[in-house]
C-alpha cells in the first residue's frame, strides 16, 4: 500500500504505534524525588520561619509591647492618627501602630535568614485594603520572579504556586525572560468562599499578612516588651514572640520609624526563633507606605484548579 493512503486512512493506528516506538526504552534514570522534596522543604522552612515574623508577627509583637505596658487608650483608635505628645514611648508607639491598622497600605518586607546556608533573601510585597477586602501578596526569592502569589478581589481569593512556570521546552535557557504575571495559569480559587483578608494555608504554620487585628491583640498580649524612644520618630523595641505550634521560644529586637502621618513607616529587626529542630535567625526590613490609598487588583485569568478530595 502507498504510505500516503495508509496515513490518510489509518492515521490513528499509525499514531498509536508511533507513540509506542517513541517511548520504548524511555526510563527514568535520575533521582527526581530527592531534589523535589528538598526544594519543598527549603521553601516550607523559609516560609514558616520567615513569614511568621513578617508583617503580622511584627505588628503583633509591637502591639503586645504596648498593650502589656499600659494599654492602648483612647489615642489608639484604629485609623485615627494620634498626637505625638502622649505620656510614654509605649503609648506613642501604640498610637502609631493602631493608626496603621484598619486602613489600606502597601508593604514590602525583606527577610534574610542568617541561619540558612547562603542566607537567601525573601521579599514579600503586597497591598491590602480591609474596607474592600482587596489586595495581593507576592513572595519571591531575592530579585527572582515571585514563586507564590495571592490576590484578593472583593473577598474572592485566588492563590497561585508559580514555581513550575519556567518554560518547559527550554529548561536550560536561563537567559529567557521569566513569564509575566499575566501568564500564570494555575490559580486556585474556591467560588463558594468569601474572605475578609489575604490568607495563608494554616497547615504551613504561618499567619496571614493582614489578619484580623483583634486576633493579634488576643495572641500578642501574652508577651512582654521593652520599648524606648531613641529619637523624635524612632523607637527601639525588644519583645518575646509568643509560643505557637512548632515554635518553642523566640524574640525580636529592632527599631521602628514613624512617618510624618504618625503611622509606622519602617521597621528594621532581628528575630530569633527556636523551633523544634533548629534555631532560625532572621534579619528583616519592613516598609509600609501609601496608607489610605485605593488598592486595585485584577482578577487573574487562567485555570482554577479544585484539588481532588477537596
Amino acid at each position: 500500500m502507498e504510505w500516503s493512503w495508509v496515513m490518510t486512512n489509518y492515521i490513528e493506528e499509525q499514531l498509536t504505534e508511533g507513540m509506542r516506538e517513541r517511548v520504548a526504552g524511555v526510563a527514568l534514570t535520575t533521582d527526581v524525588v530527592g531534589p523535589t522534596v528538598r526544594r519543598q522543604q527549603r521553601r516550607t522552612t523559609m516560609t514558616r520561619t520567615g513569614y511568621a515574623v513578617g508583617v503580622v508577627g511584627l505588628a503583633g509583637a509591637l502591639m503586645a509591647g504596648v498593650l502589656t505596658t499600659g494599654g492602648a487608650g483612647p489615642s489608639a483608635t484604629p485609623g485615627r492618627p494620634s498626637a505625638a505628645g502622649a505620656e510614654s514611648p509605649q503609648l506613642r508607639l501604640a498610637a502609631a501602630v493602631a493608626a496603621s491598622q484598619g486602613t489600606s497600605y502597601r508593604v514590602k518586607n525583606t527577610i534574610i535568614p542568617r541561619s540558612q546556608p547562603g542566607s537567601p533573601s525573601m521579599v514579600i510585597t503586597g497591598a491590602f485594603d480591609p474596607a474592600t477586602a482587596t489586595g495581593y501578596v507576592r513572595i519571591a526569592a531575592g530579585d527572582a520572579p515571585p514563586w507564590y502569589e495571592e490576590r484578593l478581589v472583593d473577598g474572592d481569593l485566588y492563590t497561585a504556586d508559580i514555581a513550575h512556570l519556567r518554560p518547559i521546552d527550554q529548561p536550560s535557557d536561563r537567559r529567557k525572560p521569566a513569564p509575566s504575571p499575566d501568564e500564570r495559569v494555575d490559580w486556585n480559587h474556591d467560588p463558594d468562599k468569601k474572605y475578609t483578608s489575604l490568607s495563608w494555608d494554616p497547615k504551613t504554620g504561618v499567619v496571614a499578612v493582614s489578619a484580623d487585628p483583634q486576633q493579634l491583640f488576643d495572641t500578642l498580649t501574652q508577651s512582654g516588651a521593652r520599648i524606648s524612644q531613641t529619637g523624635p520618630d524612632t523607637y527601639h523595641f525588644e519583645v518575646a514572640i509568643p509560643r505557637r505550634k512548632g515554635l518553642t521560644s523566640g524574640n525580636m529586637i529592632g527599631d521602628v520609624t514613624v512617618g510624618p502621618d504618625h503611622r509606622v513607616a519602617k521597621v528594621v529587626y532581628r528575630a530569633t526563633l527556636r523551633l523544634a529542630t533548629e534555631t532560625a535567625v532572621l534579619d528583616g526590613t519592613l516598609e509600609l507606605s501609601d496608607y489610605g490609598s485605593p488598592v486595585t487588583v485584577e482578577r487573574p485569568e487562567g485555570t482554577f484548579e479544585q484539588l481532588p478530595g477537596k
Binding site: W3, L15, V26, V33, P35, V37, H164
Partner: protein, 173 residues
C-alpha cells in the same frame, strides 16, 4: 530521613510508575529533556499538595502532567510561535513504515499542546472521549473537536509529504 515520613509512598510511586509517566511526558512535550522537566514540575506540585491529595496519587500526578502541558500552551499563546520543521519520510522502501511513524510523532510535537494532549490521551492512553474530557476538565465536545483538528492537521502534513514525495519521484524520472 525525615522527609520520607512526610511523603510516604512517593519513592515507591516514582520507582514503579516514573518511567511510564516520563514516557507520557515525552509525548506531551516532544523531547526527553522537556519531558523530564514536565515530570519534575508535576512532582513538585504533588509534593506541595501531598497532604491534600487523598487516594490516587498517581492519578493526581498524571492529571497534573496534562494540565501543566496544556497550561504551557496557554502561556505561549502570547509569544511568537516557533514552528518546527518536520522532516518528511524518505522514499518508500522496506523500512519506511518506521520512518513514517517517526515523522508522524515528530509532527505531533508541532501541534498546539491542547491538541497534543488530547491525541496522547486518546491514542496513547487509549482513553475514551469521556475519560479524556474528565482528565482535562473540559467537555466531551471539546475533546472531540480538538482531536478532530489535531488529526486533520496531521493528515494535512502527511498529504504534503505525499506531494513532495511525488514531485521527487517525477523529478527523478
Amino acid at each position: 530521613m525525615r522527609w520520607k515520613n512526610s511523603y510516604e509512598g512517593l519513592d515507591a510511586l516514582v520507582a514503579e510508575r516514573g518511567s511510564a509517566l516520563l514516557g507520557t511526558a515525552v509525548l506531551l512535550t516532544g523531547s526527553r529533556a522537556a519531558g523530564e522537566d514536565l515530570l519534575q514540575a508535576a512532582l513538585e506540585r504533588l509534593v506541595r499538595h501531598w497532604s491534600r491529595v487523598h487516594g490516587d496519587k498517581e492519578g493526581y500526578l498524571r492529571r497534573t502532567l496534562y494540565h501543566l502541558a496544556v497550561d504551557q500552551w496557554r502561556a505561549r499563546r502570547r509569544r511568537p510561535e516557533v514552528l518546527a520543521e518536520v522532516e518528511p519520510p524518505g522514499q518508500p522502501d522496506g523500512t519506511d513504515a518506521v520512518h513514517l511513524r517517526h515523522a508522524l510523532v515528530q509532527a505531533l510535537a508541532t501541534l498546539p499542546p491542547r491538541q497534543r494532549a488530547v491525541l496522547v490521551l486518546r491514542y496513547w492512553e487509549q482513553l475514551s472521549e469521556a475519560e479524556a474530557a474528565e482528565m482535562l476538565g473540559c467537555s466531551v465536545g471539546t475533546v472531540k473537536s480538538t482531536a478532530s483538528r489535531g488529526l486533520a492537521r496531521l493528515r494535512e502534513l502527511t498529504a504534503a509529504w505525499a506531494t513532495e514525495d511525488a514531485q521527487a519521484w517525477n523529478g527523478a524520472g
